[in-house]
């Protein structure tokens, strides 16, 4: 009964989406106010209907209704409640429902909070949003119905892949989809802008909060995924350049470029057709990611079970949405009028450099992800592209980006002076150089690459902090004045500083973890002591423990340093009874400066156990940096100019409002 209710709600949502995707566009073309007015309420009704469907599926999982094929294939009564719920999006059909629900969520958010948008523009945005929904709802209803019944119903379900039964992974897909699908709004804004033929600073100002929201969620989603891979896959790596990771990383890179180029449109009314293209491409890359994960063209640990019919359907969706958008772009974009001119050395110039480097990085990752497939299709040799390719191509693009970032951020608009910028940054530059030289002297020269990484991270942090501190530390006034000036800086400036500092923190964390990891793999008998990076690790032995749906061998280690107790760390080898699969749970002790990361391996006949002991310096900085970047996004989102709304555009391009 509940399953049928959910199914009918989806069918109704499909019908509403068709109405919402057509009538407002017709109305906008015919200047028919009644047709245009359909869009906002339709968006809200769609959210309601898809929420009913989503709630129905969650209910079916919670009560373990195995007469529904999807529940039977992916759940089990012995699973804890939280994983029965997260199991909803741990499979193809359920995650697609989450996808569509978030799409409707963004659509209705535009309907509810887009009060400052002109009526026609808003109705076009909502119509495009609905057309995306039509495609995905059709995909669900025709190829991937989560409510399909099973007759006869099995007594028990087949369970969920044990490595997915984890709190980090329960949160990872919703966060990631908020980002992925959030970029549908920027896509809709771009298409609506092209249809209207008017792209101006107020367009960029409307676009930016949605870009920021999606980007922030995607940043957190990717960080969660990488954190999960770190502690669950059990060997201390945090990023693997796996095709599915790349699928989420490409929209992030393009979205980051979009975030920056939209500033140029907003402030200087230029780089318009480029920004439109980025807005389309960012969502296109999200769709491409969806295609890669669900069509089975690439093998990956993360991929869902593949089915050729689904692949054809998503490819058709991709071609209609992206092909159509780019064709519209080719037709309309040449008529967009460029705005202000700028010198190469200027804030615009710096943001353009940022965009060029980020776009190249996106293309690099895209090439590495699709190259094996492309080569295979043209009958070439079969190859696989691994981390060596990405390290050799992606990293060199980041070095100039990070070097230029603090300088670009202090350049003036229109026409900047390199000398003046460097003057404001000399202290940060000197400090960075000084620390790098000291590092070079105390460590050996072979570690040059690591020191380059530390130097770049430090430069990003100090260079980003130098400007607000320098501006607040004007001569005159004591500490109180300094503090007041610091607090008086606009929130948007703070947002930029926090996000860029976060990037620096992330770069330092990545550098430390990739170059400074200590690893010991050895066979230990209970009571034996091993040394690891200055710590004494005593292996206490192994005992059996039972969880709700698993049995584990738990090895415990007592860690001390210079005779003082530091921590007791336990690592499990779990065996999931229903799924008949083992997992390893690394034992991790985290501080700001290092992680101790222990993994229990196999027993040997003589009573010893293989254990892997890692000392990962600064690894928590990676996720701390990502959280800071997301915090920067939120700060920028809360900036005053989005809350008071953009001024209504006049027929002639409006003067750019001053900060």
């Amino acid at each position: 009964m509940i399953a049928e209710l959910g199914h009918f709600a989806l069918v109704l949502a499909f019908a509403v989406a068709i109405v919402q995707g057509t009538l407002p566009l017709l109305g906008a073309a015919r200047r028919d106010a009644a047709l245009v007015a359909v869009a906002p309420p339709a968006a809200l009704v769609q959210l309601l209907l898809i929420s009913i469907a989503f709630g129905a599926l969650v209910h079916l999982y919670v009560v373990s209704d195995f007469s529904v094929a999807n529940v039977a294939a992916n759940s089990h009564q012995s699973k804890p409640l939280v994983y029965r719920i997260s199991g909803v999006w741990g499979n193809h059909e359920g995650s697609l429902l989450l996808w569509v629900w978030i799409l409707a969520l963004f659509g209705s958010a535009v309907a509810a909070f887009g009060g400052n948008l002109p009526v026609l523009f808003k109705s076009r945005v909502l119509a495009i949003q609905a057309l995306i929904g039509v495609g995905f709802l059709a995909f669900m209803l025709f190829t991937s119905n989560p409510f399909e019944r099973l007759d006869p119903a099995p007594l028990e379900g087949r369970g969920l892949n044990p490595i997915l039964q984890d709190p980090g992974l329960a949160m990872h897909p919703p966060m990631l989809y908020l980002g992925y699908v959030g970029f549908s709004t920027t896509f809709s804004f771009a298409i609506a802008g092209l249809l209207e033929g008017r792209i101006d600073p107020s367009w960029a100002r409307w676009l930016r909060p949605w870009t920021l929201a999606a980007w922030t969620a995607l940043t957190l989603g990717i960080a969660l995924g990488s954190w999960w891979a770190y502690y669950e896959l059990g060997w201390g790596g945090f990023w693997f350049w796996d095709p599915v990771e790349n699928a989420s990383f490409m929209p992030w890179l393009a979205g980051t470029a979009l975030l920056h180029s939209a500033i140029v449109v907003e402030k200087r009314d230029t780089l318009k057709s480029w920004t439109i293209l980025l807005a389309i491409l960012t969502f296109a890359l999200s769709l491409l990611g969806t295609f890669l994960v669900r069509s089975g063209v690439l093998t990956s640990v993360h991929a869902f079970a593949s089915d050729p019919a689904r692949g054809v359907f998503i490819l058709a969706l991709l071609v209609v949405a992206v092909g159509g958008a780019l064709a519209l772009y080719a037709w309309r974009a040449p008529s967009l009028q460029g705005g202000g001119m700028f010198a190469p050395v200027s804030r615009e110039g710096a943001l353009l450099l940022n965009n060029l480097l980020l776009a190249s990085a996106t293309a690099t990752v895209l090439l590495g992800t699709l190259y094996p497939l492309a080569l295979d299709v043209v009958g070439g040799p079969k190859i696989s592209v691994g981390p060596p390719y990405f390290n050799a191509t992606f990293v060199p693009l980041m070095i100039p980006l990070f070097l230029a970032l603090p300088i670009g951020a202090v350049l003036a608009w229109k026409r900047g002076e390199l000398g003046g910028a460097l003057q404001r940054l000399w202290l940060a530059a000197a400090a960075t150089l000084g620390v790098s030289i000291v590092l070079l002297l105390v460590s050996d020269l072979a570690r040059g690459l690591a020191i380059l990484g530390y130097g770049l991270g430090l430069w990003l942090i100090l260079g980003s902090l130098a400007d607000p501190l320098g501006r607040a530390a004007l001569p005159g006034g004591g500490l109180a004045r300094f503090w007041r000036r610091l607090c008086g800086l606009p929130r948007a400036s703070w947002a930029m500083v926090v996000a860029h500092v976060g990037l620096g923190v992330l770069v330092i964390g990545v550098t430390a973890t990739s170059t400074g990891q200590s690893e010991r793999i050895l066979a230990m008998k209970p009571g034996e002591v091993a040394e690891l990076a200055g710590y004494s690790v005593r292996f206490e032995g192994v005992r059996e423990v039972r969880g709700p749906n698993w049995i584990a061998q738990r090895g415990t280690f007592a860690v001390s340093r210079d005779g003082a107790f530091v921590a007791e760390i336990a690592s499990d080898k779990r065996f999931f009874v229903v799924e008949q699969r083992p997992t390893t749970e690394a034992g991790i002790h985290t501080t700001l400066w290092r992680d101790l990361y222990f993994v229990l391996g196999e027993p040997a006949p003589d009573g010893a156990w293989t254990v892997r002991l890692y000392h990962n310096p600064l690894v928590v900085w990676i996720w701390g940096g990502a959280v800071l970047m997301a915090l920067g996004g939120l700060l920028s989102l809360s900036d005053r100019r989005f809350r008071v709304g953009a001024p209504r555009p006049a027929r002639v391009p409006a003067a750019v409002p001053a900060e």
Binding site: W235, V319, G323, L326, A327, L370
Partner: protein, 190 residues
């Protein structure tokens, strides 16, 4: 409403208009690749080598493990598996317990270590267990090309006469053991 109900700006022809066609053309190329790629499910990529003798090759050993290496002469005599792995490949780590399980059951598994640094490969085996009878180090990936390897991991089933009977692309899951690998090995052993 009049302010927002205006006509779109008339399109003005531009000499550089063709530049704006580039994105849609590039996308068309990507679309063609994806469409052709769809027909080739990498999990069930058929091998042109199925039912043919395995290609002849002779690979050096992994320094520090043993002195024997792995060559075509080691194939045949009884049904066995050949696994292609690398320490930098995440799915390989996931499938490793499955290989361990098979080796404990007495199945002979040889391995081609694909484009890997020997010390990394040894650390991988020390950490996760070594189910392999013989290992050949294929540092340039040449032997893997002869085998038609698409990516790592891949697993081949070899029969008594040294012919390739089955090819599995991607990590071996317990399900694959039940449904294909074990039944096939049993059939070939008869």
């Amino acid at each position: 409403m009049s302010a927002s109900l205006e006509q779109p700006a008339a399109a003005r022809p531009s000499r550089r208009g063709w530049l704006f066609l580039l994105p849609v053309l590039a996308f068309a190329a990507v679309g063609v690749v994806l469409a052709l790629g769809l027909g080739r499910d990498p999990q069930t990529l058929p091998s042109v080598l199925i039912d043919k003798p395995a290609p002849s090759f002779a690979l050096p050993p992994l320094p520090g493990r043993d002195e024997r290496g792995f060559s075509s002469a080691d194939l045949g005599g009884r049904p066995m598996l050949v696994n292609v792995f690398a320490s930098w490949c995440v799915p390989c780590r996931i499938e490793h317990p499955v290989l361990d399980q098979l080796a404990r059951e007495g199945v002979t598994i040889h391995a081609i270590n694909y484009k890997d640094a020997p010390e990394d490969a040894l650390a991988f085996l020390r950490a996760l267990g070594d189910p392999f009878t013989r290992i050949g180090a294929d540092r340039q990936g040449r032997a893997a090309i002869d085998w038609g390897v698409y990516g790592v991991p891949e697993t081949f089933v070899i029969d008594r006469d040294g012919r390739i009977r089955y090819r599995h692309v991607g990590p071996l899951q317990p399900r694959d053991l039940e449904q294909t690998i074990r039944p096939l090995l049993e059939k070939l052993a008869r």
